[in-house]
């Protein structure tokens, strides 16, 4: 007879408590807001799914999501290849490798709003070096031109987060055993073939992590557009989180903001799940085929 002892559940209790206070209770508060219209703490009205229906027809919110989605895709398309390219040309060992790693990692340790302020000043055409130089070649003004504003935020995100991809890929590349490169040399493989058939397959797992992290973070981008463009010019850089903050804190429309948050949260979950499923498709095929 197998003996059952349920005392182990007590060991899980602390985790359940911590997670309750850090995630479950706040999330349920949001869920609570999402189904009410709250005028003041004493004056509230149960509205059911009204906010959710509203949001699906709200062009402001829908276009903000669309903008965030486009931004994430562009960020991924630039940062993943760029990160791989930089990691591949970094020194492999010795003091040069350490120096390169430190240099690459610097953007990651600067506080978000410092990055925003730095780039804000740097890109101004009157007092910023970058803005001044760009204006030598063409008219660049992120405060009035929507494309310039978008481009600047994208550039800041690339500058800030490509290093994360570089570090992940660099670690992945270093873990490829030397004989794989030796065998490729013996087989006469070109640099491209080494990348395509040796490195890329071995990098699949770190790239999965990089894509997931970069998607989630860029989809939720807030501080940089808040500091640099404030969501403008017009609504060019009003990404989903900027609009959410405006609704929740600016208009104090907590019911709508609650519903918005839940949908935002779900979207990220669903997108991450899709990325994960697609990128691990091959792994699962292999598992199912071997017995």
């Amino acid at each position: 007879m197998k003996t059952y002892n349920n005392k182990a559940w007590f060991l899980v209790l602390p985790v359940i408590l911590v997670v309750s206070f850090t995630a479950l209770i706040p999330l349920m508060t949001v869920a609570n807001y999402a189904i009410q219209d709250i005028f003041s703490p004493d004056n509230r009205l149960f509205v059911g799914m009204k906010w959710f229906y509203d949001i699906t027809n709200d062009t402001l919110i829908l276009s903000a999501f669309k903008r965030s989605f486009q931004f994430s895709i562009q960020a991924l398309l630039i940062q993943i290849p760029l990160g791989i390219a930089i990691a591949r040309i970094m020194p492999k060992s010795g003091w040069k490798a350490s120096a390169a790693l430190v240099a690459v990692a610097i953007p990651l340790i600067i506080p978000f709003n410092v990055i925003g302020s730095t780039w804000l000043i740097f890109s101004r055409k009157d007092i910023g070096l970058g803005g001044y130089l760009l204006n030598k070649f063409f008219d660049f003004d992120f405060t009035s031109d929507p494309i310039d504003g978008w481009g600047l935020i994208l550039a800041v995100d690339v500058w800030h987060w490509t290093p994360l991809v570089v570090l992940l890929v660099y670690a992945g590349l270093r873990s490829i055993p030397e004989p794989y490169y030796q065998a490729a040399a013996i087989d006469g493989a070109s640099t491209y073939a080494v990348f395509r058939y040796v490195e890329l397959p071995k990098l699949r797992r770190v790239l999965l992590i990089a894509v997931l992290l970069r998607f989630m973070d860029s989809f939720m981008i807030y501080t940089e557009p808040f500091v640099i463009t404030g969501g403008g010019p017009g609504d060019a850089t009003t990404f989903a989180s900027i609009l959410l903050t405006n609704i929740a804190v600016g208009q104090f429309d907590v019911g709508r903001a609650g519903a918005y948050s839940l949908i935002f949260f779900l979207l990220i979950q669903i997108m991450s799940f899709i990325f994960y499923t697609v990128l691990t498709l091959q792994d699962r095929e292999e598992v199912t085929k071997t017995k």
């Binding site: 030796q182 087989d187 058939y197």
Partner: protein
């Protein structure tokens, strides 16, 4: 197919403070199968990588057919090399893996298809051609890895770095036979690194024994067995290895303890003093006359076709390989006779003479 010549090749991994490989000069004839035999860390893989160009030697030059290839990279040298553990391209099928070295060199599709089938047939992996190697057992993976080394015909040499380590013992014999047969047909120059003497001795025309970065002896299997030039060769080749006893040379007489085992046979006389007396277990027999070295039998191992007798003498432990008829039991005291001409005297671990056992009194 090429003659490989190394000229004063040496290698240091740490910029010259220690040498993994001390200066070596050798020539291996075109079409020969050469085995590099030695314990782990003796420099055999280093030597192999220098030949294939994965490693540039710290000093010395490498020649293929008289052409200096020292500064050519691996791809240009065009040699094939097989590694100790399976190294495969995960995203390719077995067929694509085998075709890869040919494809990179722009061989025509028909030739590739034909060669791949041929090699798969030789290695017995034809039925796995269309699946990914990741799904195979590790010994089958190693066969695919091996196949990639064999698939090109126009290589100057094929280098093997202990390729059969992960292969099942029974299949090893089959595979060695097939490799040997393939070598007889194609006459590629083969260089085969191994620490397994059986493998080296059955496979190679020429065996090079390496120890601590030096070539200690080169020769055929029987050269190494019958006339070891170095204590290491005596000890490393043979199973079990050579017995060594402390002895003395005294005016031409060879003494072990107080037993005179013979006179020196060497043309040059050997100076008086300490020597190490080496004798293979195969060349010891029981001396019925009672004049041989007195030993006490410690343990008798029955090995089917023969007996291994472990014995103690005044000068140390002994192993003798005796035929089944000899009735011996542990605890028994016997005298051992040394086979004429097969007893070697060593000084500073090099051979300095042999013994004329007939001169024993």
């Amino acid at each position: 197919m090429a003659e490989i010549r190394l000229e004063n090749v040496a290698h240091s991994y740490d910029g010259g403070s220690t040498f993994a490989l001390n200066p070596i000069s050798v020539t291996w004839k075109d079409g020969n199968a050469v085995a590099l035999l030695g314990p782990s860390g003796c420099g055999k893989t280093t030597l192999l990588n220098i030949i294939s160009g994965l490693l540039t030697p710290s000093v010395g030059r490498v020649y293929f057919d008289g052409v200096d290839v020292t500064d050519l990279d691996t791809a240009k040298r065009n040699v094939a090399q097989v590694f100790q553990f399976p190294v495969l391209y995960d995203t390719m099928t077995v067929r694509q893996n085998l075709a890869f070295p040919l494809k990179n060199r722009n061989v025509s599709k028909d030739v590739i298809a034909e060669r791949v089938e041929e090699i798969a047939e030789l290695l017995g992996i034809s039925k796995y051609l269309d699946i990914r190697p990741l799904k195979l057992r590790s010994d089958l993976q190693q066969l695919v890895s091996l196949g990639r080394g064999l698939v090109r015909k126009d290589v100057p040499a094929i280098l093997f770095d202990e390729p059969l380590t992960v292969i099942d013992q029974n299949f090893k014999w089959t595979l060695r036979g097939r490799l040997k047969e393939m070598h007889n047909n194609t006459r590629h120059t083969l260089v085969y690194v191994t620490h397994d003497q059986t493998e080296a001795l059955t496979f190679a025309d020429e065996v090079v024994v390496l120890n601590q970065g030096n070539i200690v002896q080169t020769g055929t299997a029987s050269d190494l067995f019958l006339t070891p030039q170095d204590e290491f060769v005596g000890f490393f080749i043979g199973s079990p290895g050579m017995n060594f006893l402390d002895g003395k040379v005294n005016d031409g007489a060879v003494m072990v303890g107080s037993t005179r085992i013979g006179t020196t046979l060497s043309a040059t006389t050997i100076a008086n003093g300490n020597v190490r007396v080496g004798i293979r277990p195969e060349f010891l027999s029981i001396d019925e006359t009672g004049k041989g070295l007195p030993v006490e039998i410690n343990r008798v191992e029955h090995r089917g076709g023969y007996k291994l007798v472990h014995a103690d003498s005044v000068q140390g432990k002994f192993v003798a390989k005796l035929d089944n008829e000899s009735a011996l039991v542990a605890g028994q005291s016997v005298h051992l006779a040394f086979h004429p001409e097969r007893t070697y005297l060593f000084r500073d671990s090099k051979v300095c003479g042999t013994v004329n056992v007939k001169g024993a009194k």
